[in-house]
């Protein structure tokens, strides 16, 4: 039967497309790392001698990657549900300021850490309320809070100072730096391992959790989700809260790494997060996307960014990264188009 062979053909091509969709990100990672490892750093005065892929460089990359790594998974789930949060950079900045203020005023690590996470949850909840309750378009709602949260962070810092840091009679406690810099395991700091732990939890949530499946259903076909008795509003609200908490963890990691609470420390994070998640194969329209692949996407972006710093003159970097992403996004788009039989 001709129609039967046609069906078979379709399933073969969609099988190949599925394979590409599922694994291409790892090939990209390998390719990027391989390219970078070819670079000989001897010519660059700024850096250590030898290969790009030396131990120190790798540790460095992973240390500065902690903020984006901790956000990527949560951001993926939110995008899978068909929603977006442009305010994560501002949430990061505001929570970084809050964390630094708590620390500099003498609060111990654990309560300061937990209170900052709570602040992130509240900021996420505000986004959730704007989007779910007040029905404001996600892009607009989170652009509003992008501005609001940043405004609050700047107000908190005040007085012509650019950030919360030691000085004027107040001193950052000694532990402040440790979370983001001090190697606790395999010479990597706690901030990195928290990002790994969060990602692992979110992978389980995505594979075995109600929230993961309902996020996919909400993003894939909201009407079907509602008709199946799923409270899509609650699903989306929860996801915004989780993204808020993840952004707070990113804020803590960044401020700890830099030893200060900078209200602008998260600027541009929303773009990085979107790029990372798209690179990981998440559909902008929702329904599709994996936490683990976004994590890998984040590693790629960071390797590229740091790699660029060492090899390419500064003024080329943005352009090169943009071009790399364009290629990745286009491939991803083609692959996911082919996977669909309409």
């Amino acid at each position: 039967m001709s129609s039967q062979s046609k069906t078979a053909e379709l399933s073969v091509t969609s099988g190949a497309a599925n394979f590409l969709r599922n694994y291409y990100i790892y090939f990209v990672l390998v390719a990027v790392v391989a390219l970078l490892s070819l670079a000989n750093l001897d010519q660059f005065a700024l850096f250590e001698r030898g290969n790009f892929l030396n131990k120190r460089n790798i540790i460095n990359i992973l240390r500065v990657s902690a903020p984006i790594l901790v956000v990527a998974g949560a951001f993926t789930l939110l995008m899978v549900s068909g929603y977006i949060d442009l305010s994560i950079g501002s949430t990061m900045g505001l929570t970084a300021v809050i964390y630094a203020m708590l620390a500099i005023n003498g609060m111990p690590f654990v309560p300061a850490f937990l209170l900052t996470m709570l602040a992130g949850a509240v900021l996420g909840a505000i986004n959730g309320i704007l989007v779910v309750r007040l029905n404001i378009t996600p892009v607009i709602a989170t652009l509003i809070t992008l501005s609001l949260f940043k405004g609050i962070a700047l107000l908190l810092v005040q007085d012509g100072v650019s950030a919360i840091k030691s000085g004027g009679g107040l001193k950052m406690p000694a532990w402040f730096n440790d979370y983001g810099r001090d190697g606790v395991f395999l010479k990597l700091p706690a901030a990195f391992w928290v990002a790994v732990a969060v990602t692992l939890v979110l992978i389980v949530v995505q594979n075995r959790g109600k929230l993961g499946k309902y996020a996919a259903a909400t993003g894939g076909n909201p009407t079907a989700a509602k008709l199946s008795g799923i409270n899509t509003g609650r699903t989306v609200f929860l996801l915004y809260v989780i993204v808020g908490v993840a952004a707070a963890l990113a804020g803590i990691a960044r401020s700890s790494f830099m030893s200060l609470g900078d209200p602008l420390s998260g600027d541009g994070m929303e773009l990085t997060a979107i790029l990372v998640v798209l690179l990981g194969g998440t559909a902008f329209s929702g329904g599709e996307g994996r936490v683990l692949r976004s994590f890998v996407g984040a590693l790629i972006i960071m390797a590229l960014t740091v790699g660029m710093l060492t090899i390419v003159p500064a003024y080329y970097q943005t352009l090169v990264i943009g071009a790399a992403l364009l290629t990745a996004a286009a491939t991803n788009h083609l692959v996911s188009q082919k996977g669909k039989v309409s």
């Binding site: 109600k210 993003g219 894939g220 079907a224 989700a225 008709l227 669909k340 039989v341």
Partner: protein, 503 residues
């Protein structure tokens, strides 16, 4: 099945639904037994959809009661309807493409603890249900890789495993090929064997006779009869039950049809249309009559260059425009099916809407000549009798009939001499309807050619000189309008009767 097993699973008693000014469902009483395929038939506007909406919880009845599985039934959502025992297969598919078949089947019914899924017999149960009705679908497949027909079966399996014992199917074969229809029918029969009652709604009467055990006929919101299909003596009797002895507004020939062919279409083919050929003469009103999905809108859109197609359109001796822009420039105008979304700029005023199809007429070097725009709007408000306080009124604030007149004004302003009117009086009150018919006749009398695409037989027979009957993308028959048209025959043709005769 033995006689004592027959129990009533659904009964409605005195069910009534009033809309402002209209009684859509009028004191309907009937009951349906278990394990049957029960068909619901009636013309467009007979009240079927309203009845179904009440059964699915989308609408609350004005009066009357429903009983399902022996219990009083007052659903307020599809969810509650399903808990009560009624699941519905809507015309649009409600599956999540990105999930697997199994994930779709269990969606919203999963057992979980602390937000994580726990093992239960649910997965086995739904897999079993799916295997019973269609073993060929792999539960692990992603739904995006399935065909429309397979997705539909996934939805049926979900309905069946949700615990509902009554499944409503609204025109389920509309998007299916012949082979897929046969497969769907097998599925429906298996459901019936498994003690599920199917309420089947279709315009295609041969499907009704092939599949149905019992039938309920509705007409003008009223319940006409509920009986076994074996008691109905073929299509003719069913059609008679559906239309009754309706007297249509009689057509009077205008007798001014020219000889000059304005437009000739040859062998139009699209995804839906099959070899559609016809012509329109100067001063003539032709009608395309068929049920929803028969391909009327597709013909209109093809002529207007809005959709691509294979075949030839000759307009005034030249090939027809390939885009709406070209078609308008040649003198073709379309009044689209959806007035609010396709026909009007509802946030703009009458004055701003009227000239949009032919801006060069009222601009100079790209700048509006304000006086000309105003004059044009005033002229059409008077000519078409648009009831408005001013030409500055926003069109969203006008009534349906007046909105439609603004759409007509837009087309007339483009100086078209072929007007394509897709459902020209949908959602328009009776008074405005008559006025629009007069406008259409005047336009034809002035020598314009008019094509009316309508799913209201009364409309088509009221104004058209020639009528093309459409079914399933084909022009089945061309009839000259006149006092002796055979309405039963027309209904037979547009419900697929001619196909059956040909077999």
């Amino acid at each position: 099945m033995t006689e004592e097993q027959k129990i009533s699973v659904l009964s409605v008693d005195g069910l009534t639904k009033d809309y402002p000014g209209v009684r859509a469902v009028d004191n309907v009483t009937f009951s349906i037994q278990n394990s049957v395929v029960h068909c619901l038939v009636g013309e467009n506007g007979a009240g079927k959809s309203t009845l179904v909406k009440m059964l699915t919880g989308a609408l609350a009845p004005t009066a009357g009661a429903m009983t399902v599985n022996g219990k009083a039934y007052v659903p307020t959502s599809p969810q509650e309807a399903r808990d009560g025992g009624i699941a519905t297969l809507f015309q649009e598919l409600h599956v999540v493409d990105e999930l697997t078949v199994l994930e779709n089947l269990t969606l919203g019914m999963e057992k979980s603890r602390f937000g994580f899924f726990v093992k239960s017999d649910l997965e086995d149960r739904v897999t079993q249900t799916l295997a019973t009705i269609e073993p060929a679908i792999d539960p692990a497949a992603r739904v995006s890789t399935l065909s429309v027909a397979q997705k539909q079966i996934v939805e049926i399996a979900r309905a069946a495993s949700s615990g509902a014992n009554i499944i409503i199917m609204d025109e389920p074969t509309a998007a299916l090929s012949e082979r897929e229809v046969a497969r769907l029918f097998t599925v429906i029969r298996r459901l019936r064997e498994n003690n599920v009652t199917v309420i089947y709604i279709s315009h295609k009467l041969d499907e009704i006779f092939e599949l149905g055990d019992t039938v309920t006929v509705m007409r003008d919101g009223k319940h006409i009869t509920t009986c076994p299909l074996s008691d109905v003596d073929g299509r003719a009797e069913l059609i008679e039950l559906m239309i009754g002895r309706t007297v249509f507004q009689s057509y009077s020939p205008r007798g001014k049809i020219g000889d000059k062919v304005v437009l000739k279409a040859e062998g139009l083919n699209t995804k839906l249309l099959k070899d559609v050929s016809f012509d329109i003469k100067e001063g003539e009103i032709i009608g395309f009559y068929g049920l929803v999905g028969a391909g009327k809108t597709e013909v209109a859109r093809a002529l207007f260059g809005a959709d691509t197609f294979d075949g030839k359109v000759i307009f005034h001796g030249k090939p027809g425009g390939k885009t709406p822009k070209e078609a308008i420039a040649q003198g073709i105008a379309l009044v689209p099916e959806e007035r609010r979304t396709q026909g009007l700029f509802t946030s703009l005023t009458i004055r701003e809407n009227v000239p949009v199809m032919n801006l060069p007429r009222v601009t100079q070097n790209g700048v509006f000549k304000a006086e000309d725009v105003r004059a044009a709007a005033e002229e059409f408000v008077t000519q078409l009798g648009i009831a408005t306080s001013s030409i500055e009124k926003h069109t969203e604030k006008l009534s349906g009939g007046n909105q439609q007149k603004v759409v007509l004004a837009k087309c007339l302003f483009s100086q078209a001499d072929l007007l394509l009117l897709d459902e020209p009086t949908r959602g328009v009150d009776v008074g405005a309807k008559t006025e629009i018919y007069e406008i259409i006749k005047d336009l034809a009398n002035e020598g314009n050619a008019v094509a009316v695409f309508s799913s209201e037989l009364e409309e088509v027979l009221g104004i058209c000189d020639r009528v093309f009957l459409m079914f399933d993308g084909c022009l089945q028959e061309e009839i000259e309008n006149g006092p002796n048209v055979d309405i039963a025959h027309i209904l037979n043709v547009v419900t697929g009767g001619q196909d059956e005769d040909a077999r």
